[in-house]
């Protein structure tokens, strides 16, 4: 039985499908799924689903989580949001996650290098940068060129995190050398400095500006298209609940998921 299941998994992997159980051949045994009840239907996922997701997905994934639980009442979704690089590190250190959704292919890389992804990651959303300024735009920022003004207080993300990586790309595309005053640890920290009015401008994701209400205004700039950030997602090979994990990935890519992502300001690949 187990042998057949493994073959099914291997076949699914070979075909590039995400996860095993849910997409396995119907003849195979339903794989044991965490603490789920044995009385669940053959294909209905159950138990606890642990999703590690980039901080920028916090709002949209939390909303989708409730919808997912409504659709699969036997599943409880638990989220862990943090900087993608931090999550990748936790996963390679053996954190018991089912799904990893990161904010950049770079931060997915360590997980893939360690062979911890159950299938090739799928890009489910895209994000672009936007200039964020405090309400009223006290620094009169109009475009990327203002980031070179040493008189303005500027926050960028550190190069080690995806938003900083993207910032480097847009500045080199624009041929500009920014004069930042601080290199923030993650995009939310940069945004906080804007909403508190401590900096005149920051480069953050469009979705972050949209999610932060009236305290922050967003300004588009043409070079943003140079750094489109892909959000890859994968079921992890050590997933304790591959059934639910596969269902989650499918759910995020369903019309419901895509609508929620689009509402939050993400572009769809």
């Amino acid at each position: 039985m187990i042998g057949r299941r493994l073959i099914g998994c291997a076949a699914a992997l070979w075909l590039g499908l995400v996860g095993c159980g849910a997409s396995g051949p119907p003849a195979s045994e339903p794989p044991g799924s965490g603490s789920g009840s044995a009385s669940a239907g053959a294909d209905a996922p159950s138990g606890t689903l642990t999703v590690f997701a980039a901080a920028s997905l916090t709002d949209v994934f939390t909303g989708l989580g409730s919808q997912f639980e409504a659709e699969y009442p036997d599943v409880t979704v638990v989220f862990s949001y943090a900087a993608s690089s931090t999550l990748a590190q936790q996963i390679t250190q053996g954190a018991p996650a089912d799904v990893f959704a990161s904010a950049s292919p770079t931060t997915m890389q360590p997980v893939m290098a360690a062979g911890l992804n159950a299938a090739a990651p799928v890009v489910f959303a895209q994000n672009t940068l936007q200039i964020a300024v405090p309400a009223g735009n006290p620094g009169d920022v109009t475009g990327l060129a203002d980031f070179t003004d040493p008189d303005l207080t500027i926050a960028l993300c550190a190069e080690q995190v995806p938003c900083g990586d993207a910032a480097v790309t847009v500045f080199s595309a624009a041929g500009l050398t920014p004069q930042p005053d601080t290199l923030e640890q993650d995009v939310r920290a940069a945004l906080t400095k804007v909403s508190l009015g401590e900096v005149d401008a920051a480069l953050v994701y469009r979705t972050d500006v949209l999610g932060s209400g009236d305290a922050v205004e967003g300004i588009d700039f043409p070079e943003a298209g140079e750094a489109v950030n892909d959000y890859p997602m994968t079921v992890l090979s050590a997933s304790p609940n591959p059934d639910a994990a596969a269902a989650w990935v499918e759910f995020v890519r369903s019309p419901t998921g895509e609508a929620a992502l689009a509402d939050a300001g993400f572009a769809l690949p």
């Binding site: 900087a83 690089s85 931090t86 590190q89 207080t153 926050a155 550190a158 080690q160 995190v161 930042p180 005053d181 601080t182 290199l183 923030e184 640890q185 920290a189 400095k193 508190l196 009015g197 401590e198 900096v199």
Partner: protein, 270 residues
């Protein structure tokens, strides 16, 4: 005292077994992570990991800012400790509670509070910025402020304890011999509590050196200006864990060195 209860204690060490086991567990728990750091350290590449200009900048910034924070804490904190220990002003208990809040406050919260007070739009920072154009966040001054905020209470508590423990008869004698209050404080009280002040200063310096949360929140993170060693460690952890371990090792070495040096001079108390 222990000898009187000889029957209950372990003959060789004088420590009851009921205490020895948890005490040993505590030692293992406290020391094991440090040993792990040493075991996992990338010894072969240590030199190259630590010789980058970024690391040198961060180390210099950390040492300079922690020392400045300690200096400010001494200048302001010793008098405050005296007020708490010796003065008769009303509401001393409340005052003590207030000034020690940063001890128990999560440092990130401290950073937010500092932003709200000294930030460009802060309670004190906004009028200052409007009047002079001076703004603290994202400057080395902010690093020192953040470190002073979290570290000064350590010094105050330590010095206050020393003042309370000091024999007041020496001060009384000085007074009867005609010394004024200021002179008594300078010539009698301060030398009496010097070990307490030194211990407080060391604690304060070590706490300032290790400051992370308030710094990254209030001062931001920029190489050379505000990126201290702890911030450098955190950032290195994102991409290069080996570099982070190497940097941690430096901080560990600096802490142990300081404790060792000061222990011989001041901290040994009979």
């Amino acid at each position: 005292m222990a000898r009187r209860h000889k029957a209950q204690v372990d003959g060789a060490t004088g420590v009851p077994a009921a205490l020895l086991i948890p005490a040993a567990l505590a030692v293992v728990f406290l020391v094991l992570p440090l040993i792990a750091l040493l075991v996992r350290a990338p010894w072969s590449t240590l030199g190259s990991l630590l010789s980058t200009p970024e690391v040198r900048d961060a180390l210099r910034l950390s040492i300079v800012s922690a020392s400045l924070a300690t200096l400010i804490s001494l200048v302001l904190g010793v008098p405050l400790a005296w007020v708490l220990a010796r003065s008769q002003i009303r509401g001393r208990g409340v005052l003590r509670a207030l000034v020690t809040v940063p001890l128990v406050l999560p440092p990130v919260v401290g950073g937010v509070a500092l932003l709200l007070a000294f930030g460009r739009t802060g309670v004190l920072g906004a009028p200052l910025y409007d009047a002079t154009g001076v703004s603290f966040p994202f400057t080395t001054t902010a690093v020192v402020l953040a470190q002073t905020f979290v570290a000064m209470p350590f010094l105050v508590i330590s010095v206050e304890g020393a003042l309370r423990a000091a024999d007041r008869r020496y001060e009384d004698a000085a007074a009867t011999l005609g010394a004024g209050r200021a002179m008594t404080f300078r010539r009698v009280t301060l030398p009496l509590v010097a070990p307490g002040v030194a211990a407080g200063a060391v604690l304060c310096w070590a706490r300032a050196l290790g400051e992370f949360g308030a710094t990254i929140t209030f001062a931001g993170n920029f190489p050379g200006t505000t990126r201290t060693m702890t911030l450098q460690v955190y950032l290195a952890l994102e991409t290069d864990p080996d570099a982070a371990i190497a940097l941690s090792l430096v901080l560990l070495a600096v802490s142990i060195l300081t404790l060792g040096l000061l222990r011989d001079r001041w901290l040994v108390r009979q």
